[in-house]
């Protein structure tokens, strides 16, 4: 299993300079990917713009949206954004897409929530036509990004198996990942796709200053009500908790686990690197 790290685009206190420096350090560290979240109505950065900046200061690290809320954007805009990151990074983008969980982001985008699943399917189908897409730059027409699809419902797993290359899980204890992975594999098999889907997981961590991490998670997930406290309680805050979690995800069949920072301090990257090596 590969382990990636998040870029703190939604974490309070992160400014542009910090994000760029973070990306540079992550590229020099033992991480396979740099992941970003996507939230519109929140103190945060755009995922594609952030990955574009990261692309400019990194050489090897994979750049991943975990996930981007596809239907908030018109398909052509979404593909243009993704293609630009793909071009700037010389083909290092992994594009995770899902419908997201926030109705107010849809409202703010003037996009109805009704029918968003079908719209995501349309976008994925269009992304499959990358090589002939009029919005993809000619230089990277032969480098379609890997497509991950998230979600927990039956239709979401079917969508993943129809149009995706893999599954992006939304986070949770290893047992929850394992159960979702079985569903992803079952859908993949049912739709007759050859091979297996790529399985990506994610989790939050804070090594030191965990109180700041907790208050960020409580705020970021405030829209879920009391569930926010449960997410905050899942924050991995010790080297041992991280190692146990990584091992358990590996056993559950995860291909790549992205550890998302809850504290925007580059010291976090160093500490995480120590834990992982």
């Amino acid at each position: 299993m590969r382990v990636g790290v998040g870029l703190p685009t939604t974490t309070p206190g992160a400014d542009g300079a910090l994000l760029v420096e973070w990306a540079r350090q992550a590229d020099a560290g033992p991480f396979s990917s740099l992941g970003v979240l996507d939230r519109l109505l929140y103190d945060s950065f755009d995922p594609f713009a952030s990955l574009a900046a990261a692309a400019a200061v990194t050489q090897r690290i994979r750049l991943a949206t975990m996930i981007a809320i596809g239907p908030l954007r018109p398909a052509a805009t979404l593909i243009k954004d993704a293609a630009s990151v793909q071009a700037l990074s010389d083909g290092r983008l992994t594009l995770g897409l899902a419908i997201g969980a926030r109705d107010d982001d849809y409202e703010a985008s003037d996009v109805p929530t009704k029918g968003r699943g079908a719209r995501l399917s349309d976008q994925l189908a269009e992304l499959r036509d990358w090589d002939v897409s009029p919005v993809v730059p000619g230089t990277i027409k032969d480098q379609r990004p890997e497509l991950l699809v998230g979600g927990m419902s039956g239709p979401a797993f079917a969508r993943m198996a129809r149009y995706g290359d893999g599954y992006a899980h939304g986070g949770g204890p290893p047992r929850a990942f394992q159960s979702a992975a079985a569903k992803a594999n079952a859908a993949w098999s049912d739709l007759g796709r050859p091979g297996k889907p790529a399985l990506w997981g994610q989790a939050y961590f804070a090594l030191g200053d965990e109180a700041a991490g907790e208050s960020y998670l409580l705020d970021y997930y405030a829209f879920t009500g009391p569930f926010a406290a449960k997410i905050a309680a899942g924050n991995l805050t010790s080297p041992r908790a991280i190692r146990d979690f990584v091992r358990a995800y590996e056993e559950a069949g995860c291909d790549e686990l992205v550890l998302l920072p809850t504290v925007a301090d580059p010291g976090q990257l160093e500490r995480l690197a120590e834990v992982l090596t």
């Binding site: 189908a125 499959r128 797993f157 079917a158 969508r159 569903k183 594999n185 079952a186 049912d190 449960k230």
Partner: protein, 667 residues
Amino acid sequence: VRTTVLGAGPAGLYLSILLKKADPRHEVVVVERNPPDATFGFGVVFSEETLGRLRDADEPTFTAITDAWASWTTIDVHFGGEVIRSHGHRFSAIRRTKLLDILQRRARELGAELRFEQDVHDLGELPEADLLVGADGINSLVRRSHEEAFAPRLDAYPTRFAWFGTDVALDAFTFAFVETEHGVFQAHAYPFDEGTSTFIVETREDTWRKAGLEDLPEQESLAFCKQLFARVLDGHELLSNRSVWLAFNELRCKDWSSNKTVLVGDAAHTAHFSIGSGTKLAIEDAIELAAALGRHDDLGAALVEYELERRPVVERFQDAARQSAEYFEEVPRHWGLPPLQFAFNLLTRSGRIGHANLSLRDPRLVRRVDALLGGRGALAPPPLFAPLELHGLTLPNRAVTRGLDDRVGAGLYLSPGVAVTPDGRITPDDPVDPAGWRDEVERIHAVGGAAMLALNHAGRRGACRPRAHGVDLPLREGGWPLVSASPLPYSRRSATPAELDEAGMERIREAFVNAAQRGAEAGFDAVELNLGQGYLLGSFLSPRANRRTDAYGEDRLRFPATVVESVRAAFDGPLAVCLSEGPQDVEHAAALREAGADLVHVATGQATEAAAAEYRRGHLTPFSDRIRSEAHVATMVGGYLDTLDAANTIVGAGRADLCLLEPAAFA
């Protein structure tokens, strides 16, 4: 810290014990509507695991409970005039009032304040506290007072049950089934002390109504049940104790705590009694809540941790209990099984016990189940490896694999889908002639296996890109015109098919027959026709794809059945049809059996792009069970079976005859 607990059932009392034990300075007040010696319910049952946790949590109560309980390791299944006994299942039960008495004494001894006969109608009447615990059961006042915060969902099951007792200590956990003119009644019964057993009678709601129980006074319905289960009761009395007929309500809450309020036991969640987990879950809730409160100074953090620890465990039990309850709802479906297989089916109903696990608990019973399918002597292979005869062909085992790789050792090898006509291909890569597989089929025969040719016409799902590039994505170029039952595109991206006319039907019918004949010439032993998943024949069967007003719309089975009959006439070997779940699937399966199909391969819908299954391991097994038992036809089931144990359990329990395995099951 001051804690108020509403409800002096097992959860509330046990929590008060543990809180006082952890810190005698805790002020704990338990408020209860009933008097301390109220006698509702008979016995409650525990598993071995729960007992271990009781011992660890509080030794004195554990000792007092073990002095007073009944313990046994057998399950009896009374069915079809036989009693099948299974060993190796450890249960313990205790009279509910005895349990409450032990817990009350211990709580008082530790200094908890118990206030009985306090009928509370408003939470404001309760003593003020830092923490309010709702341990007040399924109709919880605490939960109802914060309905928005807990967001409860209640789901009433379509059965009725009554909770009786009997004045004999049965020597096993007993399941008894009796058929009446109105339907099937079942009893769940277990001993809980030296002279008494709990005796729950359950039936489907329609049966309950037809039997007139709705309007019968309590004593008469008791007499009715006594007579019904006379053989099991064997002359003993049936005892009533407010034994009215109830519908079981499954309760799930979005949250179990809100601010300074938390729910435990039945107030937070219920699980159908047929897996006997209500008291277990309630007591374990109390243990976890007390532990979390002990670990955290911050109340909020403790309540979150309590729920995080407990919810996955509780939900697993609720899922298993639901499956168990559904089994009992549909039990008439299994009436045709031999008693031994019926018992194995019952024991494996909730998915918690499979063939492998039962082999450890009760090897002799499992050997008998194995012998039922696979042998003439005492030694028999596990169910998946028992031979199966289909239309004169004997398959060496019931494992099916996709592809023609003879190294798997399967009984049956299912070929990749062959298109019966070039325009019936799903993708340009699809084979159109089975003759190319002569060598593979020969190698399969050499290792004793059989090969089945999968025949299909893609219909409106045709002219797509190979599946490595996604599913149902139309070819950009080099496509061909599509046909279907009606001119409706499969997805928003798909081309609109032409409505198939009679000449086209005739052409395709002949193509199926020819392809089957070419398959037979290539050595294939069996043929499968795809009548599901939104392909051409499936589109005729689906009301969403077939909008025809002619004879083929009035009788949606007409064209597919004609194809099956024609292939049957031309091919003398096992003939399978692949069928998707749909409104008339049982009827269709039965008709296709009449038309000559020997086997139904059950598959997910996929009738339209939006159709999606609830994917999980074994997601097609209930569908297979339904088709097999109601349409009386052999079935083959896939649905992500990635362990041999799952397949052994399915075949052993008679839920399918053949299992289509994932490579992970044998790789």
